[in-house]
Subunit: 217 residues, 2 copies
């Protein structure tokens, strides 16, 4: 991707991709307004002028972080929604992949970067609102596409409303994104995802999983 051209002048002391990832993590934790350039400088281990040189101002850096996150999310989702798998499994793979991101192996739960930060900023920043909207619509589209495929395979009735079901599938994802920031446990969120999948795929018999562990954080 990043073609290694022969660059003149002093070489960079950072990897742009790594730096963007670290900047993303800083925004992820503290939000856009709550993340200072000092914090970004520390996170990326780039000094201030290098940050500006590489990404432009704070807003451009955040925009790049959002773009990268959305693109990666789409790729992960495309993989998870493998059409060779049963619809149930495919959907759960999306939610499990999301939960893996929302609950890092080390450190506190962090939820979804896009939802956790852009939703606040979108009110006063039309550019962020636009990116947030495009991101959400992208995920809607992938769900819908996969559901339509399930219809052609007979996994879902041909009369089902794929667009509507995709909206519900997305809603489950949105809920996981938020709840993981509200102190809910990963297990509790996975149970919610399963409920959603049951409902979308049309459980023949309602599961009787009473007393399943649902402990808080």
């Amino acid at each position: 991707m990043t073609t290694n051209e022969i660059r003149r002048g002093r070489p960079r002391a950072y990897h742009p991709d790594e730096a963007l990832e670290r900047a993303t993590e800083a925004f992820w934790r503290q939000g856009y307004s709550g993340t200072s350039l000092d914090a970004l400088s520390a996170a990326t281990r780039m000094n201030r002028p290098s940050l500006y040189g590489a990404f432009g101002d704070k807003h451009a850096l955040y925009a790049a972080a959002l773009e990268r996150y959305i693109a990666e999310g789409r790729e992960q989702m495309e993989v998870a929604l493998d059409e060779a798998l049963p619809l149930r499994n495919a959907l759960m793979r999306v939610y499990d992949g999301a939960l893996a991101m929302y609950f890092p192996t080390k450190g506190a739960a962090r939820g979804c970067f896009l939802i956790g930060t852009a939703v606040t900023e979108s009110m006063t920043d039309p550019d962020v609102r636009e990116r947030l909207g495009r991101g959400l619509r992208e995920f809607d589209r992938l769900f819908e596409q996969r559901l339509r495929h399930a219809q052609t395979e007979g996994e879902l009735p041909a009369t089902a409303d794929a667009e509507a079901l995709a909206g519900v599938a997305s809603a489950i994802l949105h809920s996981l994104a938020m709840r993981s920031r509200a102190g809910d446990s990963r297990a509790a969120l996975r149970a919610i995802a399963e409920s959603g999948v049951d409902l979308i795929c049309g459980r023949s018999r309602p599961r009787k999983r009473r007393n399943s562990r649902r402990a808080g954080a």
Copy 2:
């Protein structure tokens, strides 16, 4: 509620409740970190020292705003979920009430104050995370309670998992809260709510409302 005791000294030039409401609106638009005390002072039309005297520091003011919003939301939801109404209508009343808040009659869409601001702040502020969690659980509880009632009335099968369905009902609400900040139109969000209600209540025949208007913002 606020007992009008005989107060000595210079009378206040503001109404605490009104001021808290205006402060809420400022936070609603700009988030916690993005709202300066100057902005709060302007919104409440209270000068800085009066703000501190009345509410304490910025954090305490935000906490009070959250508390008030959650309490009001609970009340509205209790009214909407009237047990005398069919489950379908009751649920749609909740979503319609939410959309009425998220899309004010004048001004841009603003979504949910709790979700739109606390989800960002919850990462670095345990107190906010706690309040966010309690708020969400409160709404879960009301949904679940209403769904259990529907079971006793035979509107839902006795074998249904009320807790799980309540999670889905909440997820729909969470999705509306976010999407309204992402540029989605109110009509599109209402369609999503209807899809969710259909799924929760178990539509006998999948609705065929193809080509219903779903225009963007």
